[in-house]
């Protein structure tokens, strides 16, 4: 298959692995930001093929994992209402709130639907003028343009029965938070390719300078990931704290300007809670005042939200690269995909889910 097979070519992968081995002289800890990269690494066993001196730790780039529990509780309450059609990316349905998930709401009679795009949710609103249609707008910069576009179009067409629960987050402030932590282990980053496709990589240059770390925008296929790792190792070995793009077929320095413009028309930068991590200043996007009538939080005014995280769940440490999933005492014991304690165990981008699915019961591989 074009644009896929060449990036899964075993010979190209072996060549890159050889170069990584030749280039590495000491131990390096590299974080891949995006959960999609984590899953590709585990799925293809790239961690098994790297020299022992290269340690990959897994980053916070899993949108449903970092969506605050309070937003999920609010979603569950709104989705239970008889007058609401609740729409969401499929990944969100299994994420546990304090006591339920959206699947359970659906089984109790809630109208919860999976959509592939927020614009599909808007179409449902057009088709069901007597219902309130709510979309769960979660994600990083990747989902922000389409989410913004749905709100923008709703406003332009005067559609009033559509609203969004916004839990929109951004990568650079999270990287700064990780690097500022006294417990930080990360020496270099594979930046998330799809986020950079939207935002470009110029905004990572100050992060690289301020914290003296190399940052390499990287794709998701095995050959992409190995090329990103090789470049990061080269920069680390040479002591260069630079941003070097290794996802050239998708990412440019300035990014997608039309998408960025759409985001800033509808959203503004806000502080944002990250599940398991806490408040990161300036790390989120919220609806601008002129779009506040599309804010489901305001429209439904849900108060008295009680949240209770499992005391056993260590997903916050996992999301910051301080703990590997199988280092958590609850991993594959109290916490499984059937009975998840945290979102990282159920999301298709969650690191705990990747370890559980591909590497559980590790035996000599």
């Amino acid at each position: 298959m074009k644009y896929i097979d060449e990036y899964r070519n075993p010979q190209l992968a072996r060549n890159l692995l050889d170069k990584i081995r030749q280039t590495t002289t000491r131990h390096w800890t590299i974080m891949e930001i995006c959960g999609g990269q984590t899953h590709s690494i585990l799925r293809n066993g790239i961690d098994q093929l790297l020299p022992d001196t290269i340690e990959l730790v897994h980053g916070p780039g899993c949108p449903v994992c970092v969506t605050p529990l309070e937003s999920i509780e609010r979603a569950l309450i709104i989705a239970s209402r008889k007058d609401v059609i609740f729409t969401s990316f499929g990944d969100m349905l299994r994420v546990p709130g304090s006591s339920k998930d959206l699947f359970m709401i659906r089984s109790e009679g809630g109208d919860v639907r999976i959509v592939f795009s927020p614009l599909d949710a808007l179409q449902i609103a057009r088709d069901n003028p007597l219902k309130e249609v709510v979309f769960f707008a979660v994600g990083f910069e990747t989902t922000a343009p389409a989410n913004a576009m749905a709100v923008y179009q709703a406003a332009r067409e005067g559609i009033r029965n559509f609203s969004v629960i916004v839990s929109q987050v951004m990568v650079p402030p999270a990287m700064r938070a990780i690097l500022s932590s006294p417990d930080n282990l990360v020496q270099g980053f594979l930046a998330a390719g799809h986020v950079c496709a939207i935002m470009g990589y110029a905004e990572y240059e100050p992060v690289a300078l301020d914290f003296h770390v190399p940052i390499v925008p990287t794709g998701f296929e095995p050959v992409d990931l190995l090329a990103g790792i090789l470049k990061t190792v080269e920069l680390l070995e040479e002591g260069r704290a630079e941003v070097v793009n290794r996802y050239g077929r998708v990412v440019s320095r300035e990014g997608n300007l039309v998408a960025q413009e759409t985001i800033s028309k509808v959203f503004e930068v806000t502080d944002r809670q990250w599940r398991g991590i806490g408040l990161i200043p300036g790390s989120g996007l919220g609806l601008r005042d002129e779009f506040s009538q599309y804010d489901a939080e305001k429209k439904f005014n849900v108060t008295h939200i009680c949240t209770a995280e499992s005391p056993l769940c260590m997903s916050g440490s996992v999301l910051q690269g301080m703990l590997k999933p199988d280092g958590c005492p609850a991993f594959a014991r109290e916490c499984t995909p059937e009975h998840p304690l945290g979102a990282t165990m159920v999301s298709s981008e969650g690191a705990c889910a990747a370890y559980y699915n591909y590497h559980r019961n590790v035996y000599p591989l």
């Binding site: 293809n44 790239i46 349905l93 599909d120 095995p222 590497h359």
Partner: protein
């Protein structure tokens, strides 16, 4: 204005299913005579008794049941009717039985198109003829609008078990070869890509097919096949896990050997779904002694549903109960049981 008096005579010609079609009265009879009997009639059904009286050959009888609720009911490559016949035929055949007689129970939603119902019944009759089985008893119920999704079909089936067959999911032995009869994920992706809300065009067709003659041919050549399953819901991943678990052995498969059609692979890539977890309706997974593997593959390939048959791996002593895949890069990963509904990823 005058209103002309209209005589409320009963309407017997409907275009859609009415509650009365399931009430046992005149409309029920009309449905039988106009929709079901013209296609399904045979010496058993023609008697219109409440039961079929069967003469079963000596030996063991296999008995199975399955219920079909697929949505949409018409999909590229088939419809719910032929799926209901082929599925039950295959469930009998993978146990080494010769499928003989089927029952068919219908739950119809009020308002369902009678033309579509007839198309479904007709393709059930064709599928039964093709598989060499008879539908010998049946039942129809109608439920109110919204109480089921157009049409649900239950089929049960009986067949005679071949003598000397030892097929069992507990029969896998280290050293066995694992054979897959063709490409994975065709049925599930045909359904998924034809559902509303997924507006991409594809030419993916379901692999829905009766496999009993192919299975009989395999067992004629190699009677000692250790295990055989049709990897339907949960896909090949679920089937391999069941086999490994039941036999307390490990299974190793080779990523590069798994046949996947390019358009199925493309749709799976787009949706973030592993083809190994996607349902099939015309495929087999077999475990056979490695000495027999070549012969089995050869027989499978002589049938249309088995033309892409290939050895995908082997049974091992290590990691009992677990399925491990060797990737194209030489690393290894677990192939797990899928948890439940396949959920498309966010980005």
């Amino acid at each position: 204005m005058t209103i002309a008096p209209v005589c409320p005579s009963p309407i017997l010609q409907h275009e859609t299913v009415q509650m009365a079609h399931g009430a046992g009265g005149r409309l029920s009879q009309t449905l039988m005579q106009r929709v079901f009997m013209p296609h399904l009639h045979n010496t058993f059904l023609d008697l219109l008794d409440d039961q079929a009286k069967l003469d079963m050959p000596a030996g063991r009888t296999a008995f199975t049941t399955d219920t079909y609720v697929v949505s949409p009911v018409f999909f590229p490559g088939g419809n719910i009717g032929e799926l209901a016949v082929n599925g039950t035929v295959n469930d009998l055949a993978v146990g080494g039985a010769k499928p003989m007689y089927l029952s068919a129970g219908f739950v119809l939603e009020e308002g369902f198109s009678l033309v579509e119902l007839e198309t479904i019944v007709k393709s059930m009759a064709e599928a039964a003829r093709h598989a060499g089985v008879m539908i010998v008893t049946g039942d129809t119920k109608v439920v109110g609008k919204g109480q089921c999704d157009k049409i649900f079909i239950n089929t049960s089936g009986v067949g005679t078990v071949r003598e000397g067959t030892t097929l069992s999911c507990r029969n896998l032995k280290p050293g066995d070869s694992i054979i897959l009869s063709g490409t994975v994920g065709d049925h599930g992706m045909a359904i998924m890509t034809s559902r509303e809300g997924l507006s991409f065009q594809s030419t993916i067709a379901s692999d829905c097919a009766a496999l009993n003659s192919m299975i009989a041919a395999v067992l004629d050549v190699v009677p000692a096949v250790h295990a055989m399953r049709d990897p339907t819901r949960g896909g090949v991943a679920a089937t391999l896990n069941e086999l490994a678990g039941s036999s307390s052995v490990g299974i190793e498969i080779d990523e590069t050997a798994i046949p996947v059609k390019p358009d199925v692979r493309g749709a799976c890539e787009l949706l973030g779904i592993d083809p190994l977890n996607v349902a099939n309706e015309g495929k087999l997974v077999l475990a056979v002694a490695s000495d027999d593997a070549g012969k089995v593959v050869e027989v499978l390939r002589s049938f249309e549903p088995g033309r892409d048959a290939i050895i995908i791996g082997s049974v091992v002593d290590d990691h009992p109960g677990m399925v491990v895949m060797r990737t194209a890069f030489g690393s290894r990963r677990i192939i797990d049981l899928p948890l439940g509904e396949q959920l498309p990823r966010i980005c």
